[in-house]
Symmetry: C2
Subunit: 367 residues, 2 copies
């Protein structure tokens, strides 16, 4: 005589389900984990009971027993940054598709990174770590290496870990070339301080474009803002740099490759405050293609951020199950998105956007 208590007293364990379904706990566990060796009838019986009792397995007990966390953590530089947000969308979508949890650490300065990494490294806590554009302290690299947790770097490179990034050099080259070909000379550049890899590479790409096209380079063609937050990839810095350019008066360049869209936004503000019109007086090409760029009708180099997020997750998951893979660096090529700020469209219908932003299909399963 088995008494059927429906009292969902909240303490319901796998034993309760087992008793109620007249099976052993092992069987319940197998059913819940889709283990094949259970007869369909038994499986159904267990499933019914579980549903009736509204049984929910205790996640942490599972994780403890299974010795894996089904959690991936992402450590991102503070997420006021649109670029990261957009990558994060891809990350979050893929992670939840795979049934993992995303735990998020927002970092404001490099010092915090170490703390968060330690945190993430607590045994069993996470199965994998995504690290966004940070130059890691040597110390952190060591710890990461020795614990052997799968790590994927996004928007940086290190010889020790997998990485997903964008071809900064090529992008800068393409952007600059576009401007040169439009005849908007001289072409200047608003860059971020050379503390970050993207800034360095984009500068090189820019210079290379000048060189290739026989345009002379000089140091006053490149300026950087003073505001250093986000490694200098922020609106104020763009504003400041452009103000400096404007001070050059007649000698100021007629076109600019700007190392991020957000800086471009600041730069454009500076221009408009000085009665300089984009693209009529000054042509602009940005970098990133954050959502804002569309709104601003900014010509820019698109980074497939959403895709990068997806890929980062896939990569970390692959490495989880296959521990000694070769280290792999994936590089996306940015593509030029021509909108209005470069002036290329001046004679066409100004609203048209050559290649529309990739939007999710309406099934909504992908996002």
């Amino acid at each position: 005589m088995v008494p059927k208590k429906e009292i969902a007293t909240h303490k319901l364990t796998i034993y309760d389900v087992a008793r109620e379904a007249n099976v052993g706990v092992g069987t319940v566990s197998r059913v819940l984990n889709n283990h094949p060796s259970v007869t369909p009838q038994t499986r159904q019986r267990v499933l019914d009971v579980a549903a009736r009792l509204n049984y929910q397995p205790h996640t942490y007990a599972q994780r403890l027993a299974k010795r894996q966390s089904e959690t991936i953590s992402a450590i991102i530089p503070f997420f006021t940054n649109y670029f990261f947000i957009e990558i994060l969308q891809g990350v979050q979508d893929r992670i939840s598709q795979l049934g993992y949890d995303l735990v998020l650490y927002g970092v404001n300065n490099l010092d915090q990174v170490e703390g968060y990494v330690s945190r993430a490294l607590q045994r069993g806590r996470v199965d994998g770590i995504l690290l966004f554009s940070m130059k890691l302290p040597e110390k952190v690299i060591l710890r990461l290496k020795e614990t052997n947790v799968p790590v994927v770097l996004v928007d940086t490179i290190s010889p020790y870990f997998d990485s997903i990034s964008v071809a900064n050099f090529d992008g800068a080259y393409a952007a600059t070339t576009h401007l040169i070909e439009l005849g908007r000379l001289p072409v200047g550049m608003v860059n971020a301080p050379l503390v970050s890899t993207p800034a360095v590479e984009r500068l090189q790409g820019y210079k290379h474009a000048l060189e290739t096209h026989g345009v002379e380079y000089s140091d006053d063609l490149v300026k950087t803002g003073y505001s250093t937050k986000q490694d200098g990839f922020n609106r104020e810095a763009g504003y400041e740099a452009m103000v400096d350019f404007i001070k050059m008066g007649e000698n100021m360049p007629k076109a600019f490759f700007i190392s991020s869209d957000i800086q471009a936004m600041g730069a454009i503000a500076a221009l408009s405050e000085n009665e300089l019109r984009v693209p009529d007086d000054i042509a602009i090409v940005g970098f990133d293609d954050i959502e804002l760029a569309r709104h601003l009708k900014l010509t820019t180099m698109r980074q497939p951020m959403y895709q990068m997020g997806i890929l980062a997750v896939d990569r970390v998951v692959t490495r989880m199950s296959n521990t000694n893979l070769e280290i792999l660096h994936t590089t996306f090529s940015p593509t030029l998105i021509v909108r209005e700020s470069c002036g290329a469209l001046r004679n066409s219908d100004g609203t048209r956007e050559p290649s529309p932003r990739v939007t999710p299909s309406s099934e909504g399963s992908l996002r």
Copy 2:
């Protein structure tokens, strides 16, 4: 004779530490949890050993034994939305200050909510849930209620849960009044569809302002866009609504209260495409004060988003330790931030911002 093996074989448990320090596991546990009844000497000895072995407790074992997860989950409508991102900053900062984990679920449509809530509700998984501006299906409310997990609603209200929100009515009233007082009549409104509470309340506040100031209301003073994502609080919707207004020609209002900054952005784009200048021809006041608003020099109603995030976390934590608190609804009053788009500053130095954005102190401990 205790052999000292330094071999960090990754499987190091509390028993290893105990053996090595010549104490019982209970003592090690107490040390690690700052339990008072351990002598300073013993504590130090344990700490030394733990450090030497580089011992990391197993998070999930702790959570299982302690019967709490030290995790708070946030379910947010897809985070392409700047408003949520800014709240999330506060949430994330406070959560990590308190040593909790943040697990993030991004939701794209209401159907997903149920799934994620179930997920979050798995016993022991989270200690509290933050739900961002979603009208919850009755079903979900029930489940949430019966499991008795602390829930805090942000940017919505429900009689069943704590909530943090903003005085939409008052904000809309203030914004509209500001425009009326500037003499920019008639004042129209770009709203979102009345499916969400904020849209409803803001409309009421707007109407009330007209009424109070003896300005007549008519239905063609309010328009809504067609794009429905984000409940209509998106750039395209703002653009569309404004295009409709522009079709009115001469009769179009001379000023607009727009129910979100992001819609204001679209609206301004529509205006500028039609050679209408802001604020010279048309005055605009937005709502939210997302970071973008500053860039756009948009006059707007500021919601203290960062603070709201902080508070939401605090509230959920309080409720965690004190289970049967009264249900509390906290309402912030939005404040008017006068920038250029309303035209109030037309004769002053255009750049000045009356009340600068609250930024973290440089200690950086708060963010």
